[in-house]
Symmetry: C2
Subunit: 460 residues, 2 copies
């Protein structure tokens, strides 16, 4: 009689865990069943803005693997339209509601549980998603609903995007590409709140050049409707008419079931897991993805970073361990890249306020250079910002804004930061140089050298 | 009375040292004079193939700084057409021949010497550069002569490039772009000898697709001439007709003067310097650039890697130390990137034979992935090869061949290798993910994960 593993949530975290466990344990040894309340499994939520904007044609392209693939190739059962509504740790059972069968509930036993319920969108009181024309963009279902609304006749003409994080910025661009007039409303001082305001200001300029009406320092108070449809967004500086409103307000860990069952929830609202992705204080209960919290290696603080790349890695770690191997998830450093209008944006490590909040004393430098040798065709400008600890020179954070070949340069900085390199050490790094790819001093090296010079001149 | 610093060779290494020293010591304290036998200073030799191929229009674009800039902005004297022909360490003098003044010689004293004489091209006995139509591509003067030859009327139609390293491959492409028929002759089993043959085979395919006649495993025996002009290349498999022959046979350190003066020359033929770029066993004599040898951090062996990026860094280190600061050059790991036809090629660390030669026991993996999310427009194939120590999993080398956004991914691998990360640690790295820039598992991470899986399955 095989053991039975139940997975709550059939997306990146859960299905990575399932696949890795299966590679190590055969169906005779371990039965694996996943329950997913939605219509899809293992899809790219990050691709939704490009599907809305028309860069990606078909929703199928965003789906990495379908239930049939898991069934046939991995012998993993995936049940869509099945919502897990209860978790009984003592009896080791979950309560599952079959949404395609009138909501009939049944109990399913497990020996091993993987909790990978993902995240739920942040919805302030004013966010009336019941009103026509108001959409989130968290799931493919959200995306499908928004696309249907945009295809109406007459088509909506004025969009308001609320929230200037990377999803909001990407959605503003997608709406412009679809021919709508777009206003972006953000609470903070600049859009792209994932970078410091000095870098965010460059993003604002690019958005404005594209025709987006960017409003920052603005609080949303209410959504105004007529006949059940949104007609305007009421804010601290007045009303903005809207035929369609997109909410890009971020997400929070989906942990209601876990909390009710007594699983430990950390200060970020995420489930607490150990290095091997096992839920703290439990036996054979694992968690992965947007619903967990992990450690930020620069600040040392717990963080919840809802990104598919972490979900996949945490799922892999859980699956290896479930399968009898050894793997650990080493935490994150906040790396992210975004394409916004004609700019590429990358970041890693701590922003200035994040570094300051935990007590770091640091210096910053911003350098401008180019993606290629200055004489090489297609050479374009790029800004690199570094944040380094004053006393030691250790890299704490990096941000890049440029036109091309910029965003992924953050990876070299991320690996340097991961290894706690100093900016002086970094200035000696052996990075790739050829005229089509970089000036003889890569922008990353120029920034490191400048930071090292600054620290030298301060004699610290 | 200021001290006097003499620089032999006014290119990357020498002028970086001069500029950094000047930043720390004023003209009242340190006079700086550089002697350069050529027509140019501080130029991008790596840009020559693109100038020949027509991607770069004017030779001036390749010149980073001119003597007037050094004079006016840095108060550094640069004397072009001045060849240093003697070095007298006891009297602390150099003998300088003014090539623009009939070769008149004079002696110049120094307190501090920077030896940055660069490299000289490898010229086997058969390499008759006195024959018309036979060219190297090491200097701007070489490039100008080749361009003039290509512009003759009637224009040459058949080119033979000898040597399949990155310069040879770039020159073959440049000649195709100029409309010539091109044969590339290489001794080894594949072109692009800077990567392992399994990766080099992909480069061969790309070259053949572009119409280049690639001949490998071929020894050149002689250049055949008629009326003082080259007419064919004689090889181990017969004659190849040629109106123009380009020699891409590499370079060796230009150390004749240094050796004659008794400066220490290492096993690679390069000058031996210490961590701070001071010539071993000397006082106040420094060296930088293509003429020195340094340590390869993976093999632990001395190497001579003639690349502008190292020359600049070594020069910076020398200049900081000359200026009274402290800096050291940490060695190299063999990182290089090249654009060849429609491919991008990157490498870092040791190739398989290099790793084997020093006794490493290792495994290799090659994975194929894409530069962007599979569904994102412009998604293209990329191969990543990793070499990892079997017992520890430590990364020893990496190679990438892909169509776009491939080459500079080597930087993240280079920084990981620099920090002696294991492939399992690397699989947990927090790299940038967004659909326009990578699949949810970046190709770099996929390769690391695959290597970690392979090591796990070998139970070592």
């Amino acid at each position: 009689m095989p053991e039975r593993m139940v997975v709550i949530g059939a997306d990146a975290g859960g299905m990575s865990a399932a696949s890795e466990a299966r590679r190590r344990r055969s169906p005779d040894d371990l039965e694996i069943v996943a329950f997913e309340r939605g219509n899809f499994t293992s899809y790219s939520a990050c691709g939704i803005p490009y599907w809305i904007g028309g860069l990606v044609d078909e929703v199928d392209e965003l789906i990495v693997r379908k239930p049939a693939t898991f069934r046939d190739d991995f012998r993993i059962g995936v049940h869509l339209h099945h919502e897990v509504t209860g978790l009984d740790l003592d009896r080791r059972e979950v309560v599952v509601r079959d949404l395609s069968d009138g909501g009939r509930e049944r109990r399913e036993r497990f020996d091993i549980l993987v909790y990978a319920a993902g995240a739920v969108p942040v919805r302030p009181d004013w966010a009336r998603t019941d009103a026509g024309g108001v959409f989130g963009v968290q799931t493919l279902d959200d995306g499908a609903a928004l696309r249907a609304w945009l295809d109406r006749d007459p088509a909506p003409r004025q969009a308001v995007v609320i929230g200037g994080g990377y999803i909001g910025v990407e959605m503003a661009e997608a709406m412009i590409q679809r021919g709508l007039a777009v206003t972006l409303i953000e609470q903070g001082s600049e859009p792209m709140s994932t970078v410091d305001p000095d870098m965010g200001a460059m993003v604002r300029d690019a958005m404005v050049r594209l025709g987006i009406d960017v409003r920052t320092g603005v609080e949303v108070g209410e959504l105004l409707t007529r006949d059940g449809r949104v007609r305007a967004v009421g804010t601290s500086i007045g009303e903005f008419p809207a035929d369609v409103v997109v909410l890009g307000l971020g997400v929070r860990p989906n942990t209601a079931l876990a909390a009710a069952a007594g699983l430990p929830i950390g200060p970020t609202g995420g489930i607490q897991i150990d290095l091997r992705a096992k839920v703290v204080g439990t036996d054979r209960i694992w968690a992965a993805g947007d619903c967990v919290e992990t450690i930020h290696r620069v600040t040392g603080r717990p963080v919840n970073v809802p990104l598919g790349t972490h979900a996949n890695k945490q799922g892999r770690v859980a699956g290896i361990n479930i399968g009898g191997g050894y793997a650990r998830f080493p935490g994150v450093i906040g790396t992210a890249v975004t394409k916004v209008c004609d700019l590429e944006v990358g970041r890693t490590g701590a922003l200035e306020p994040e570094a300051a909040a935990v007590g770091y004393d640091f210096i910053t430098v911003i350098v401008e250079s180019t993606n290629r040798a200055g004489y090489f065709p297609g050479s374009e400008s790029m800004h690199v910002k570094l944040i380094a600890e004053r006393h030691t020179g250790t890299l704490l954070g990096a941000q890049i804004v440029g036109r091309s070949d910029a965003a992924k340069r953050i990876d070299a900085l991320a690996v340097a930061l991961w290894n706690q390199m100093t900016v002086e050490e970094m200035a000696g790094l052996d990075l790739g140089y050829a005229p089509p790819y970089s000036p003889v001093w890569d922008p990353v090296l120029i920034a490191a050298r400048r930071a090292a010079d600054k620290l030298r001149s301060m004699d610290c």
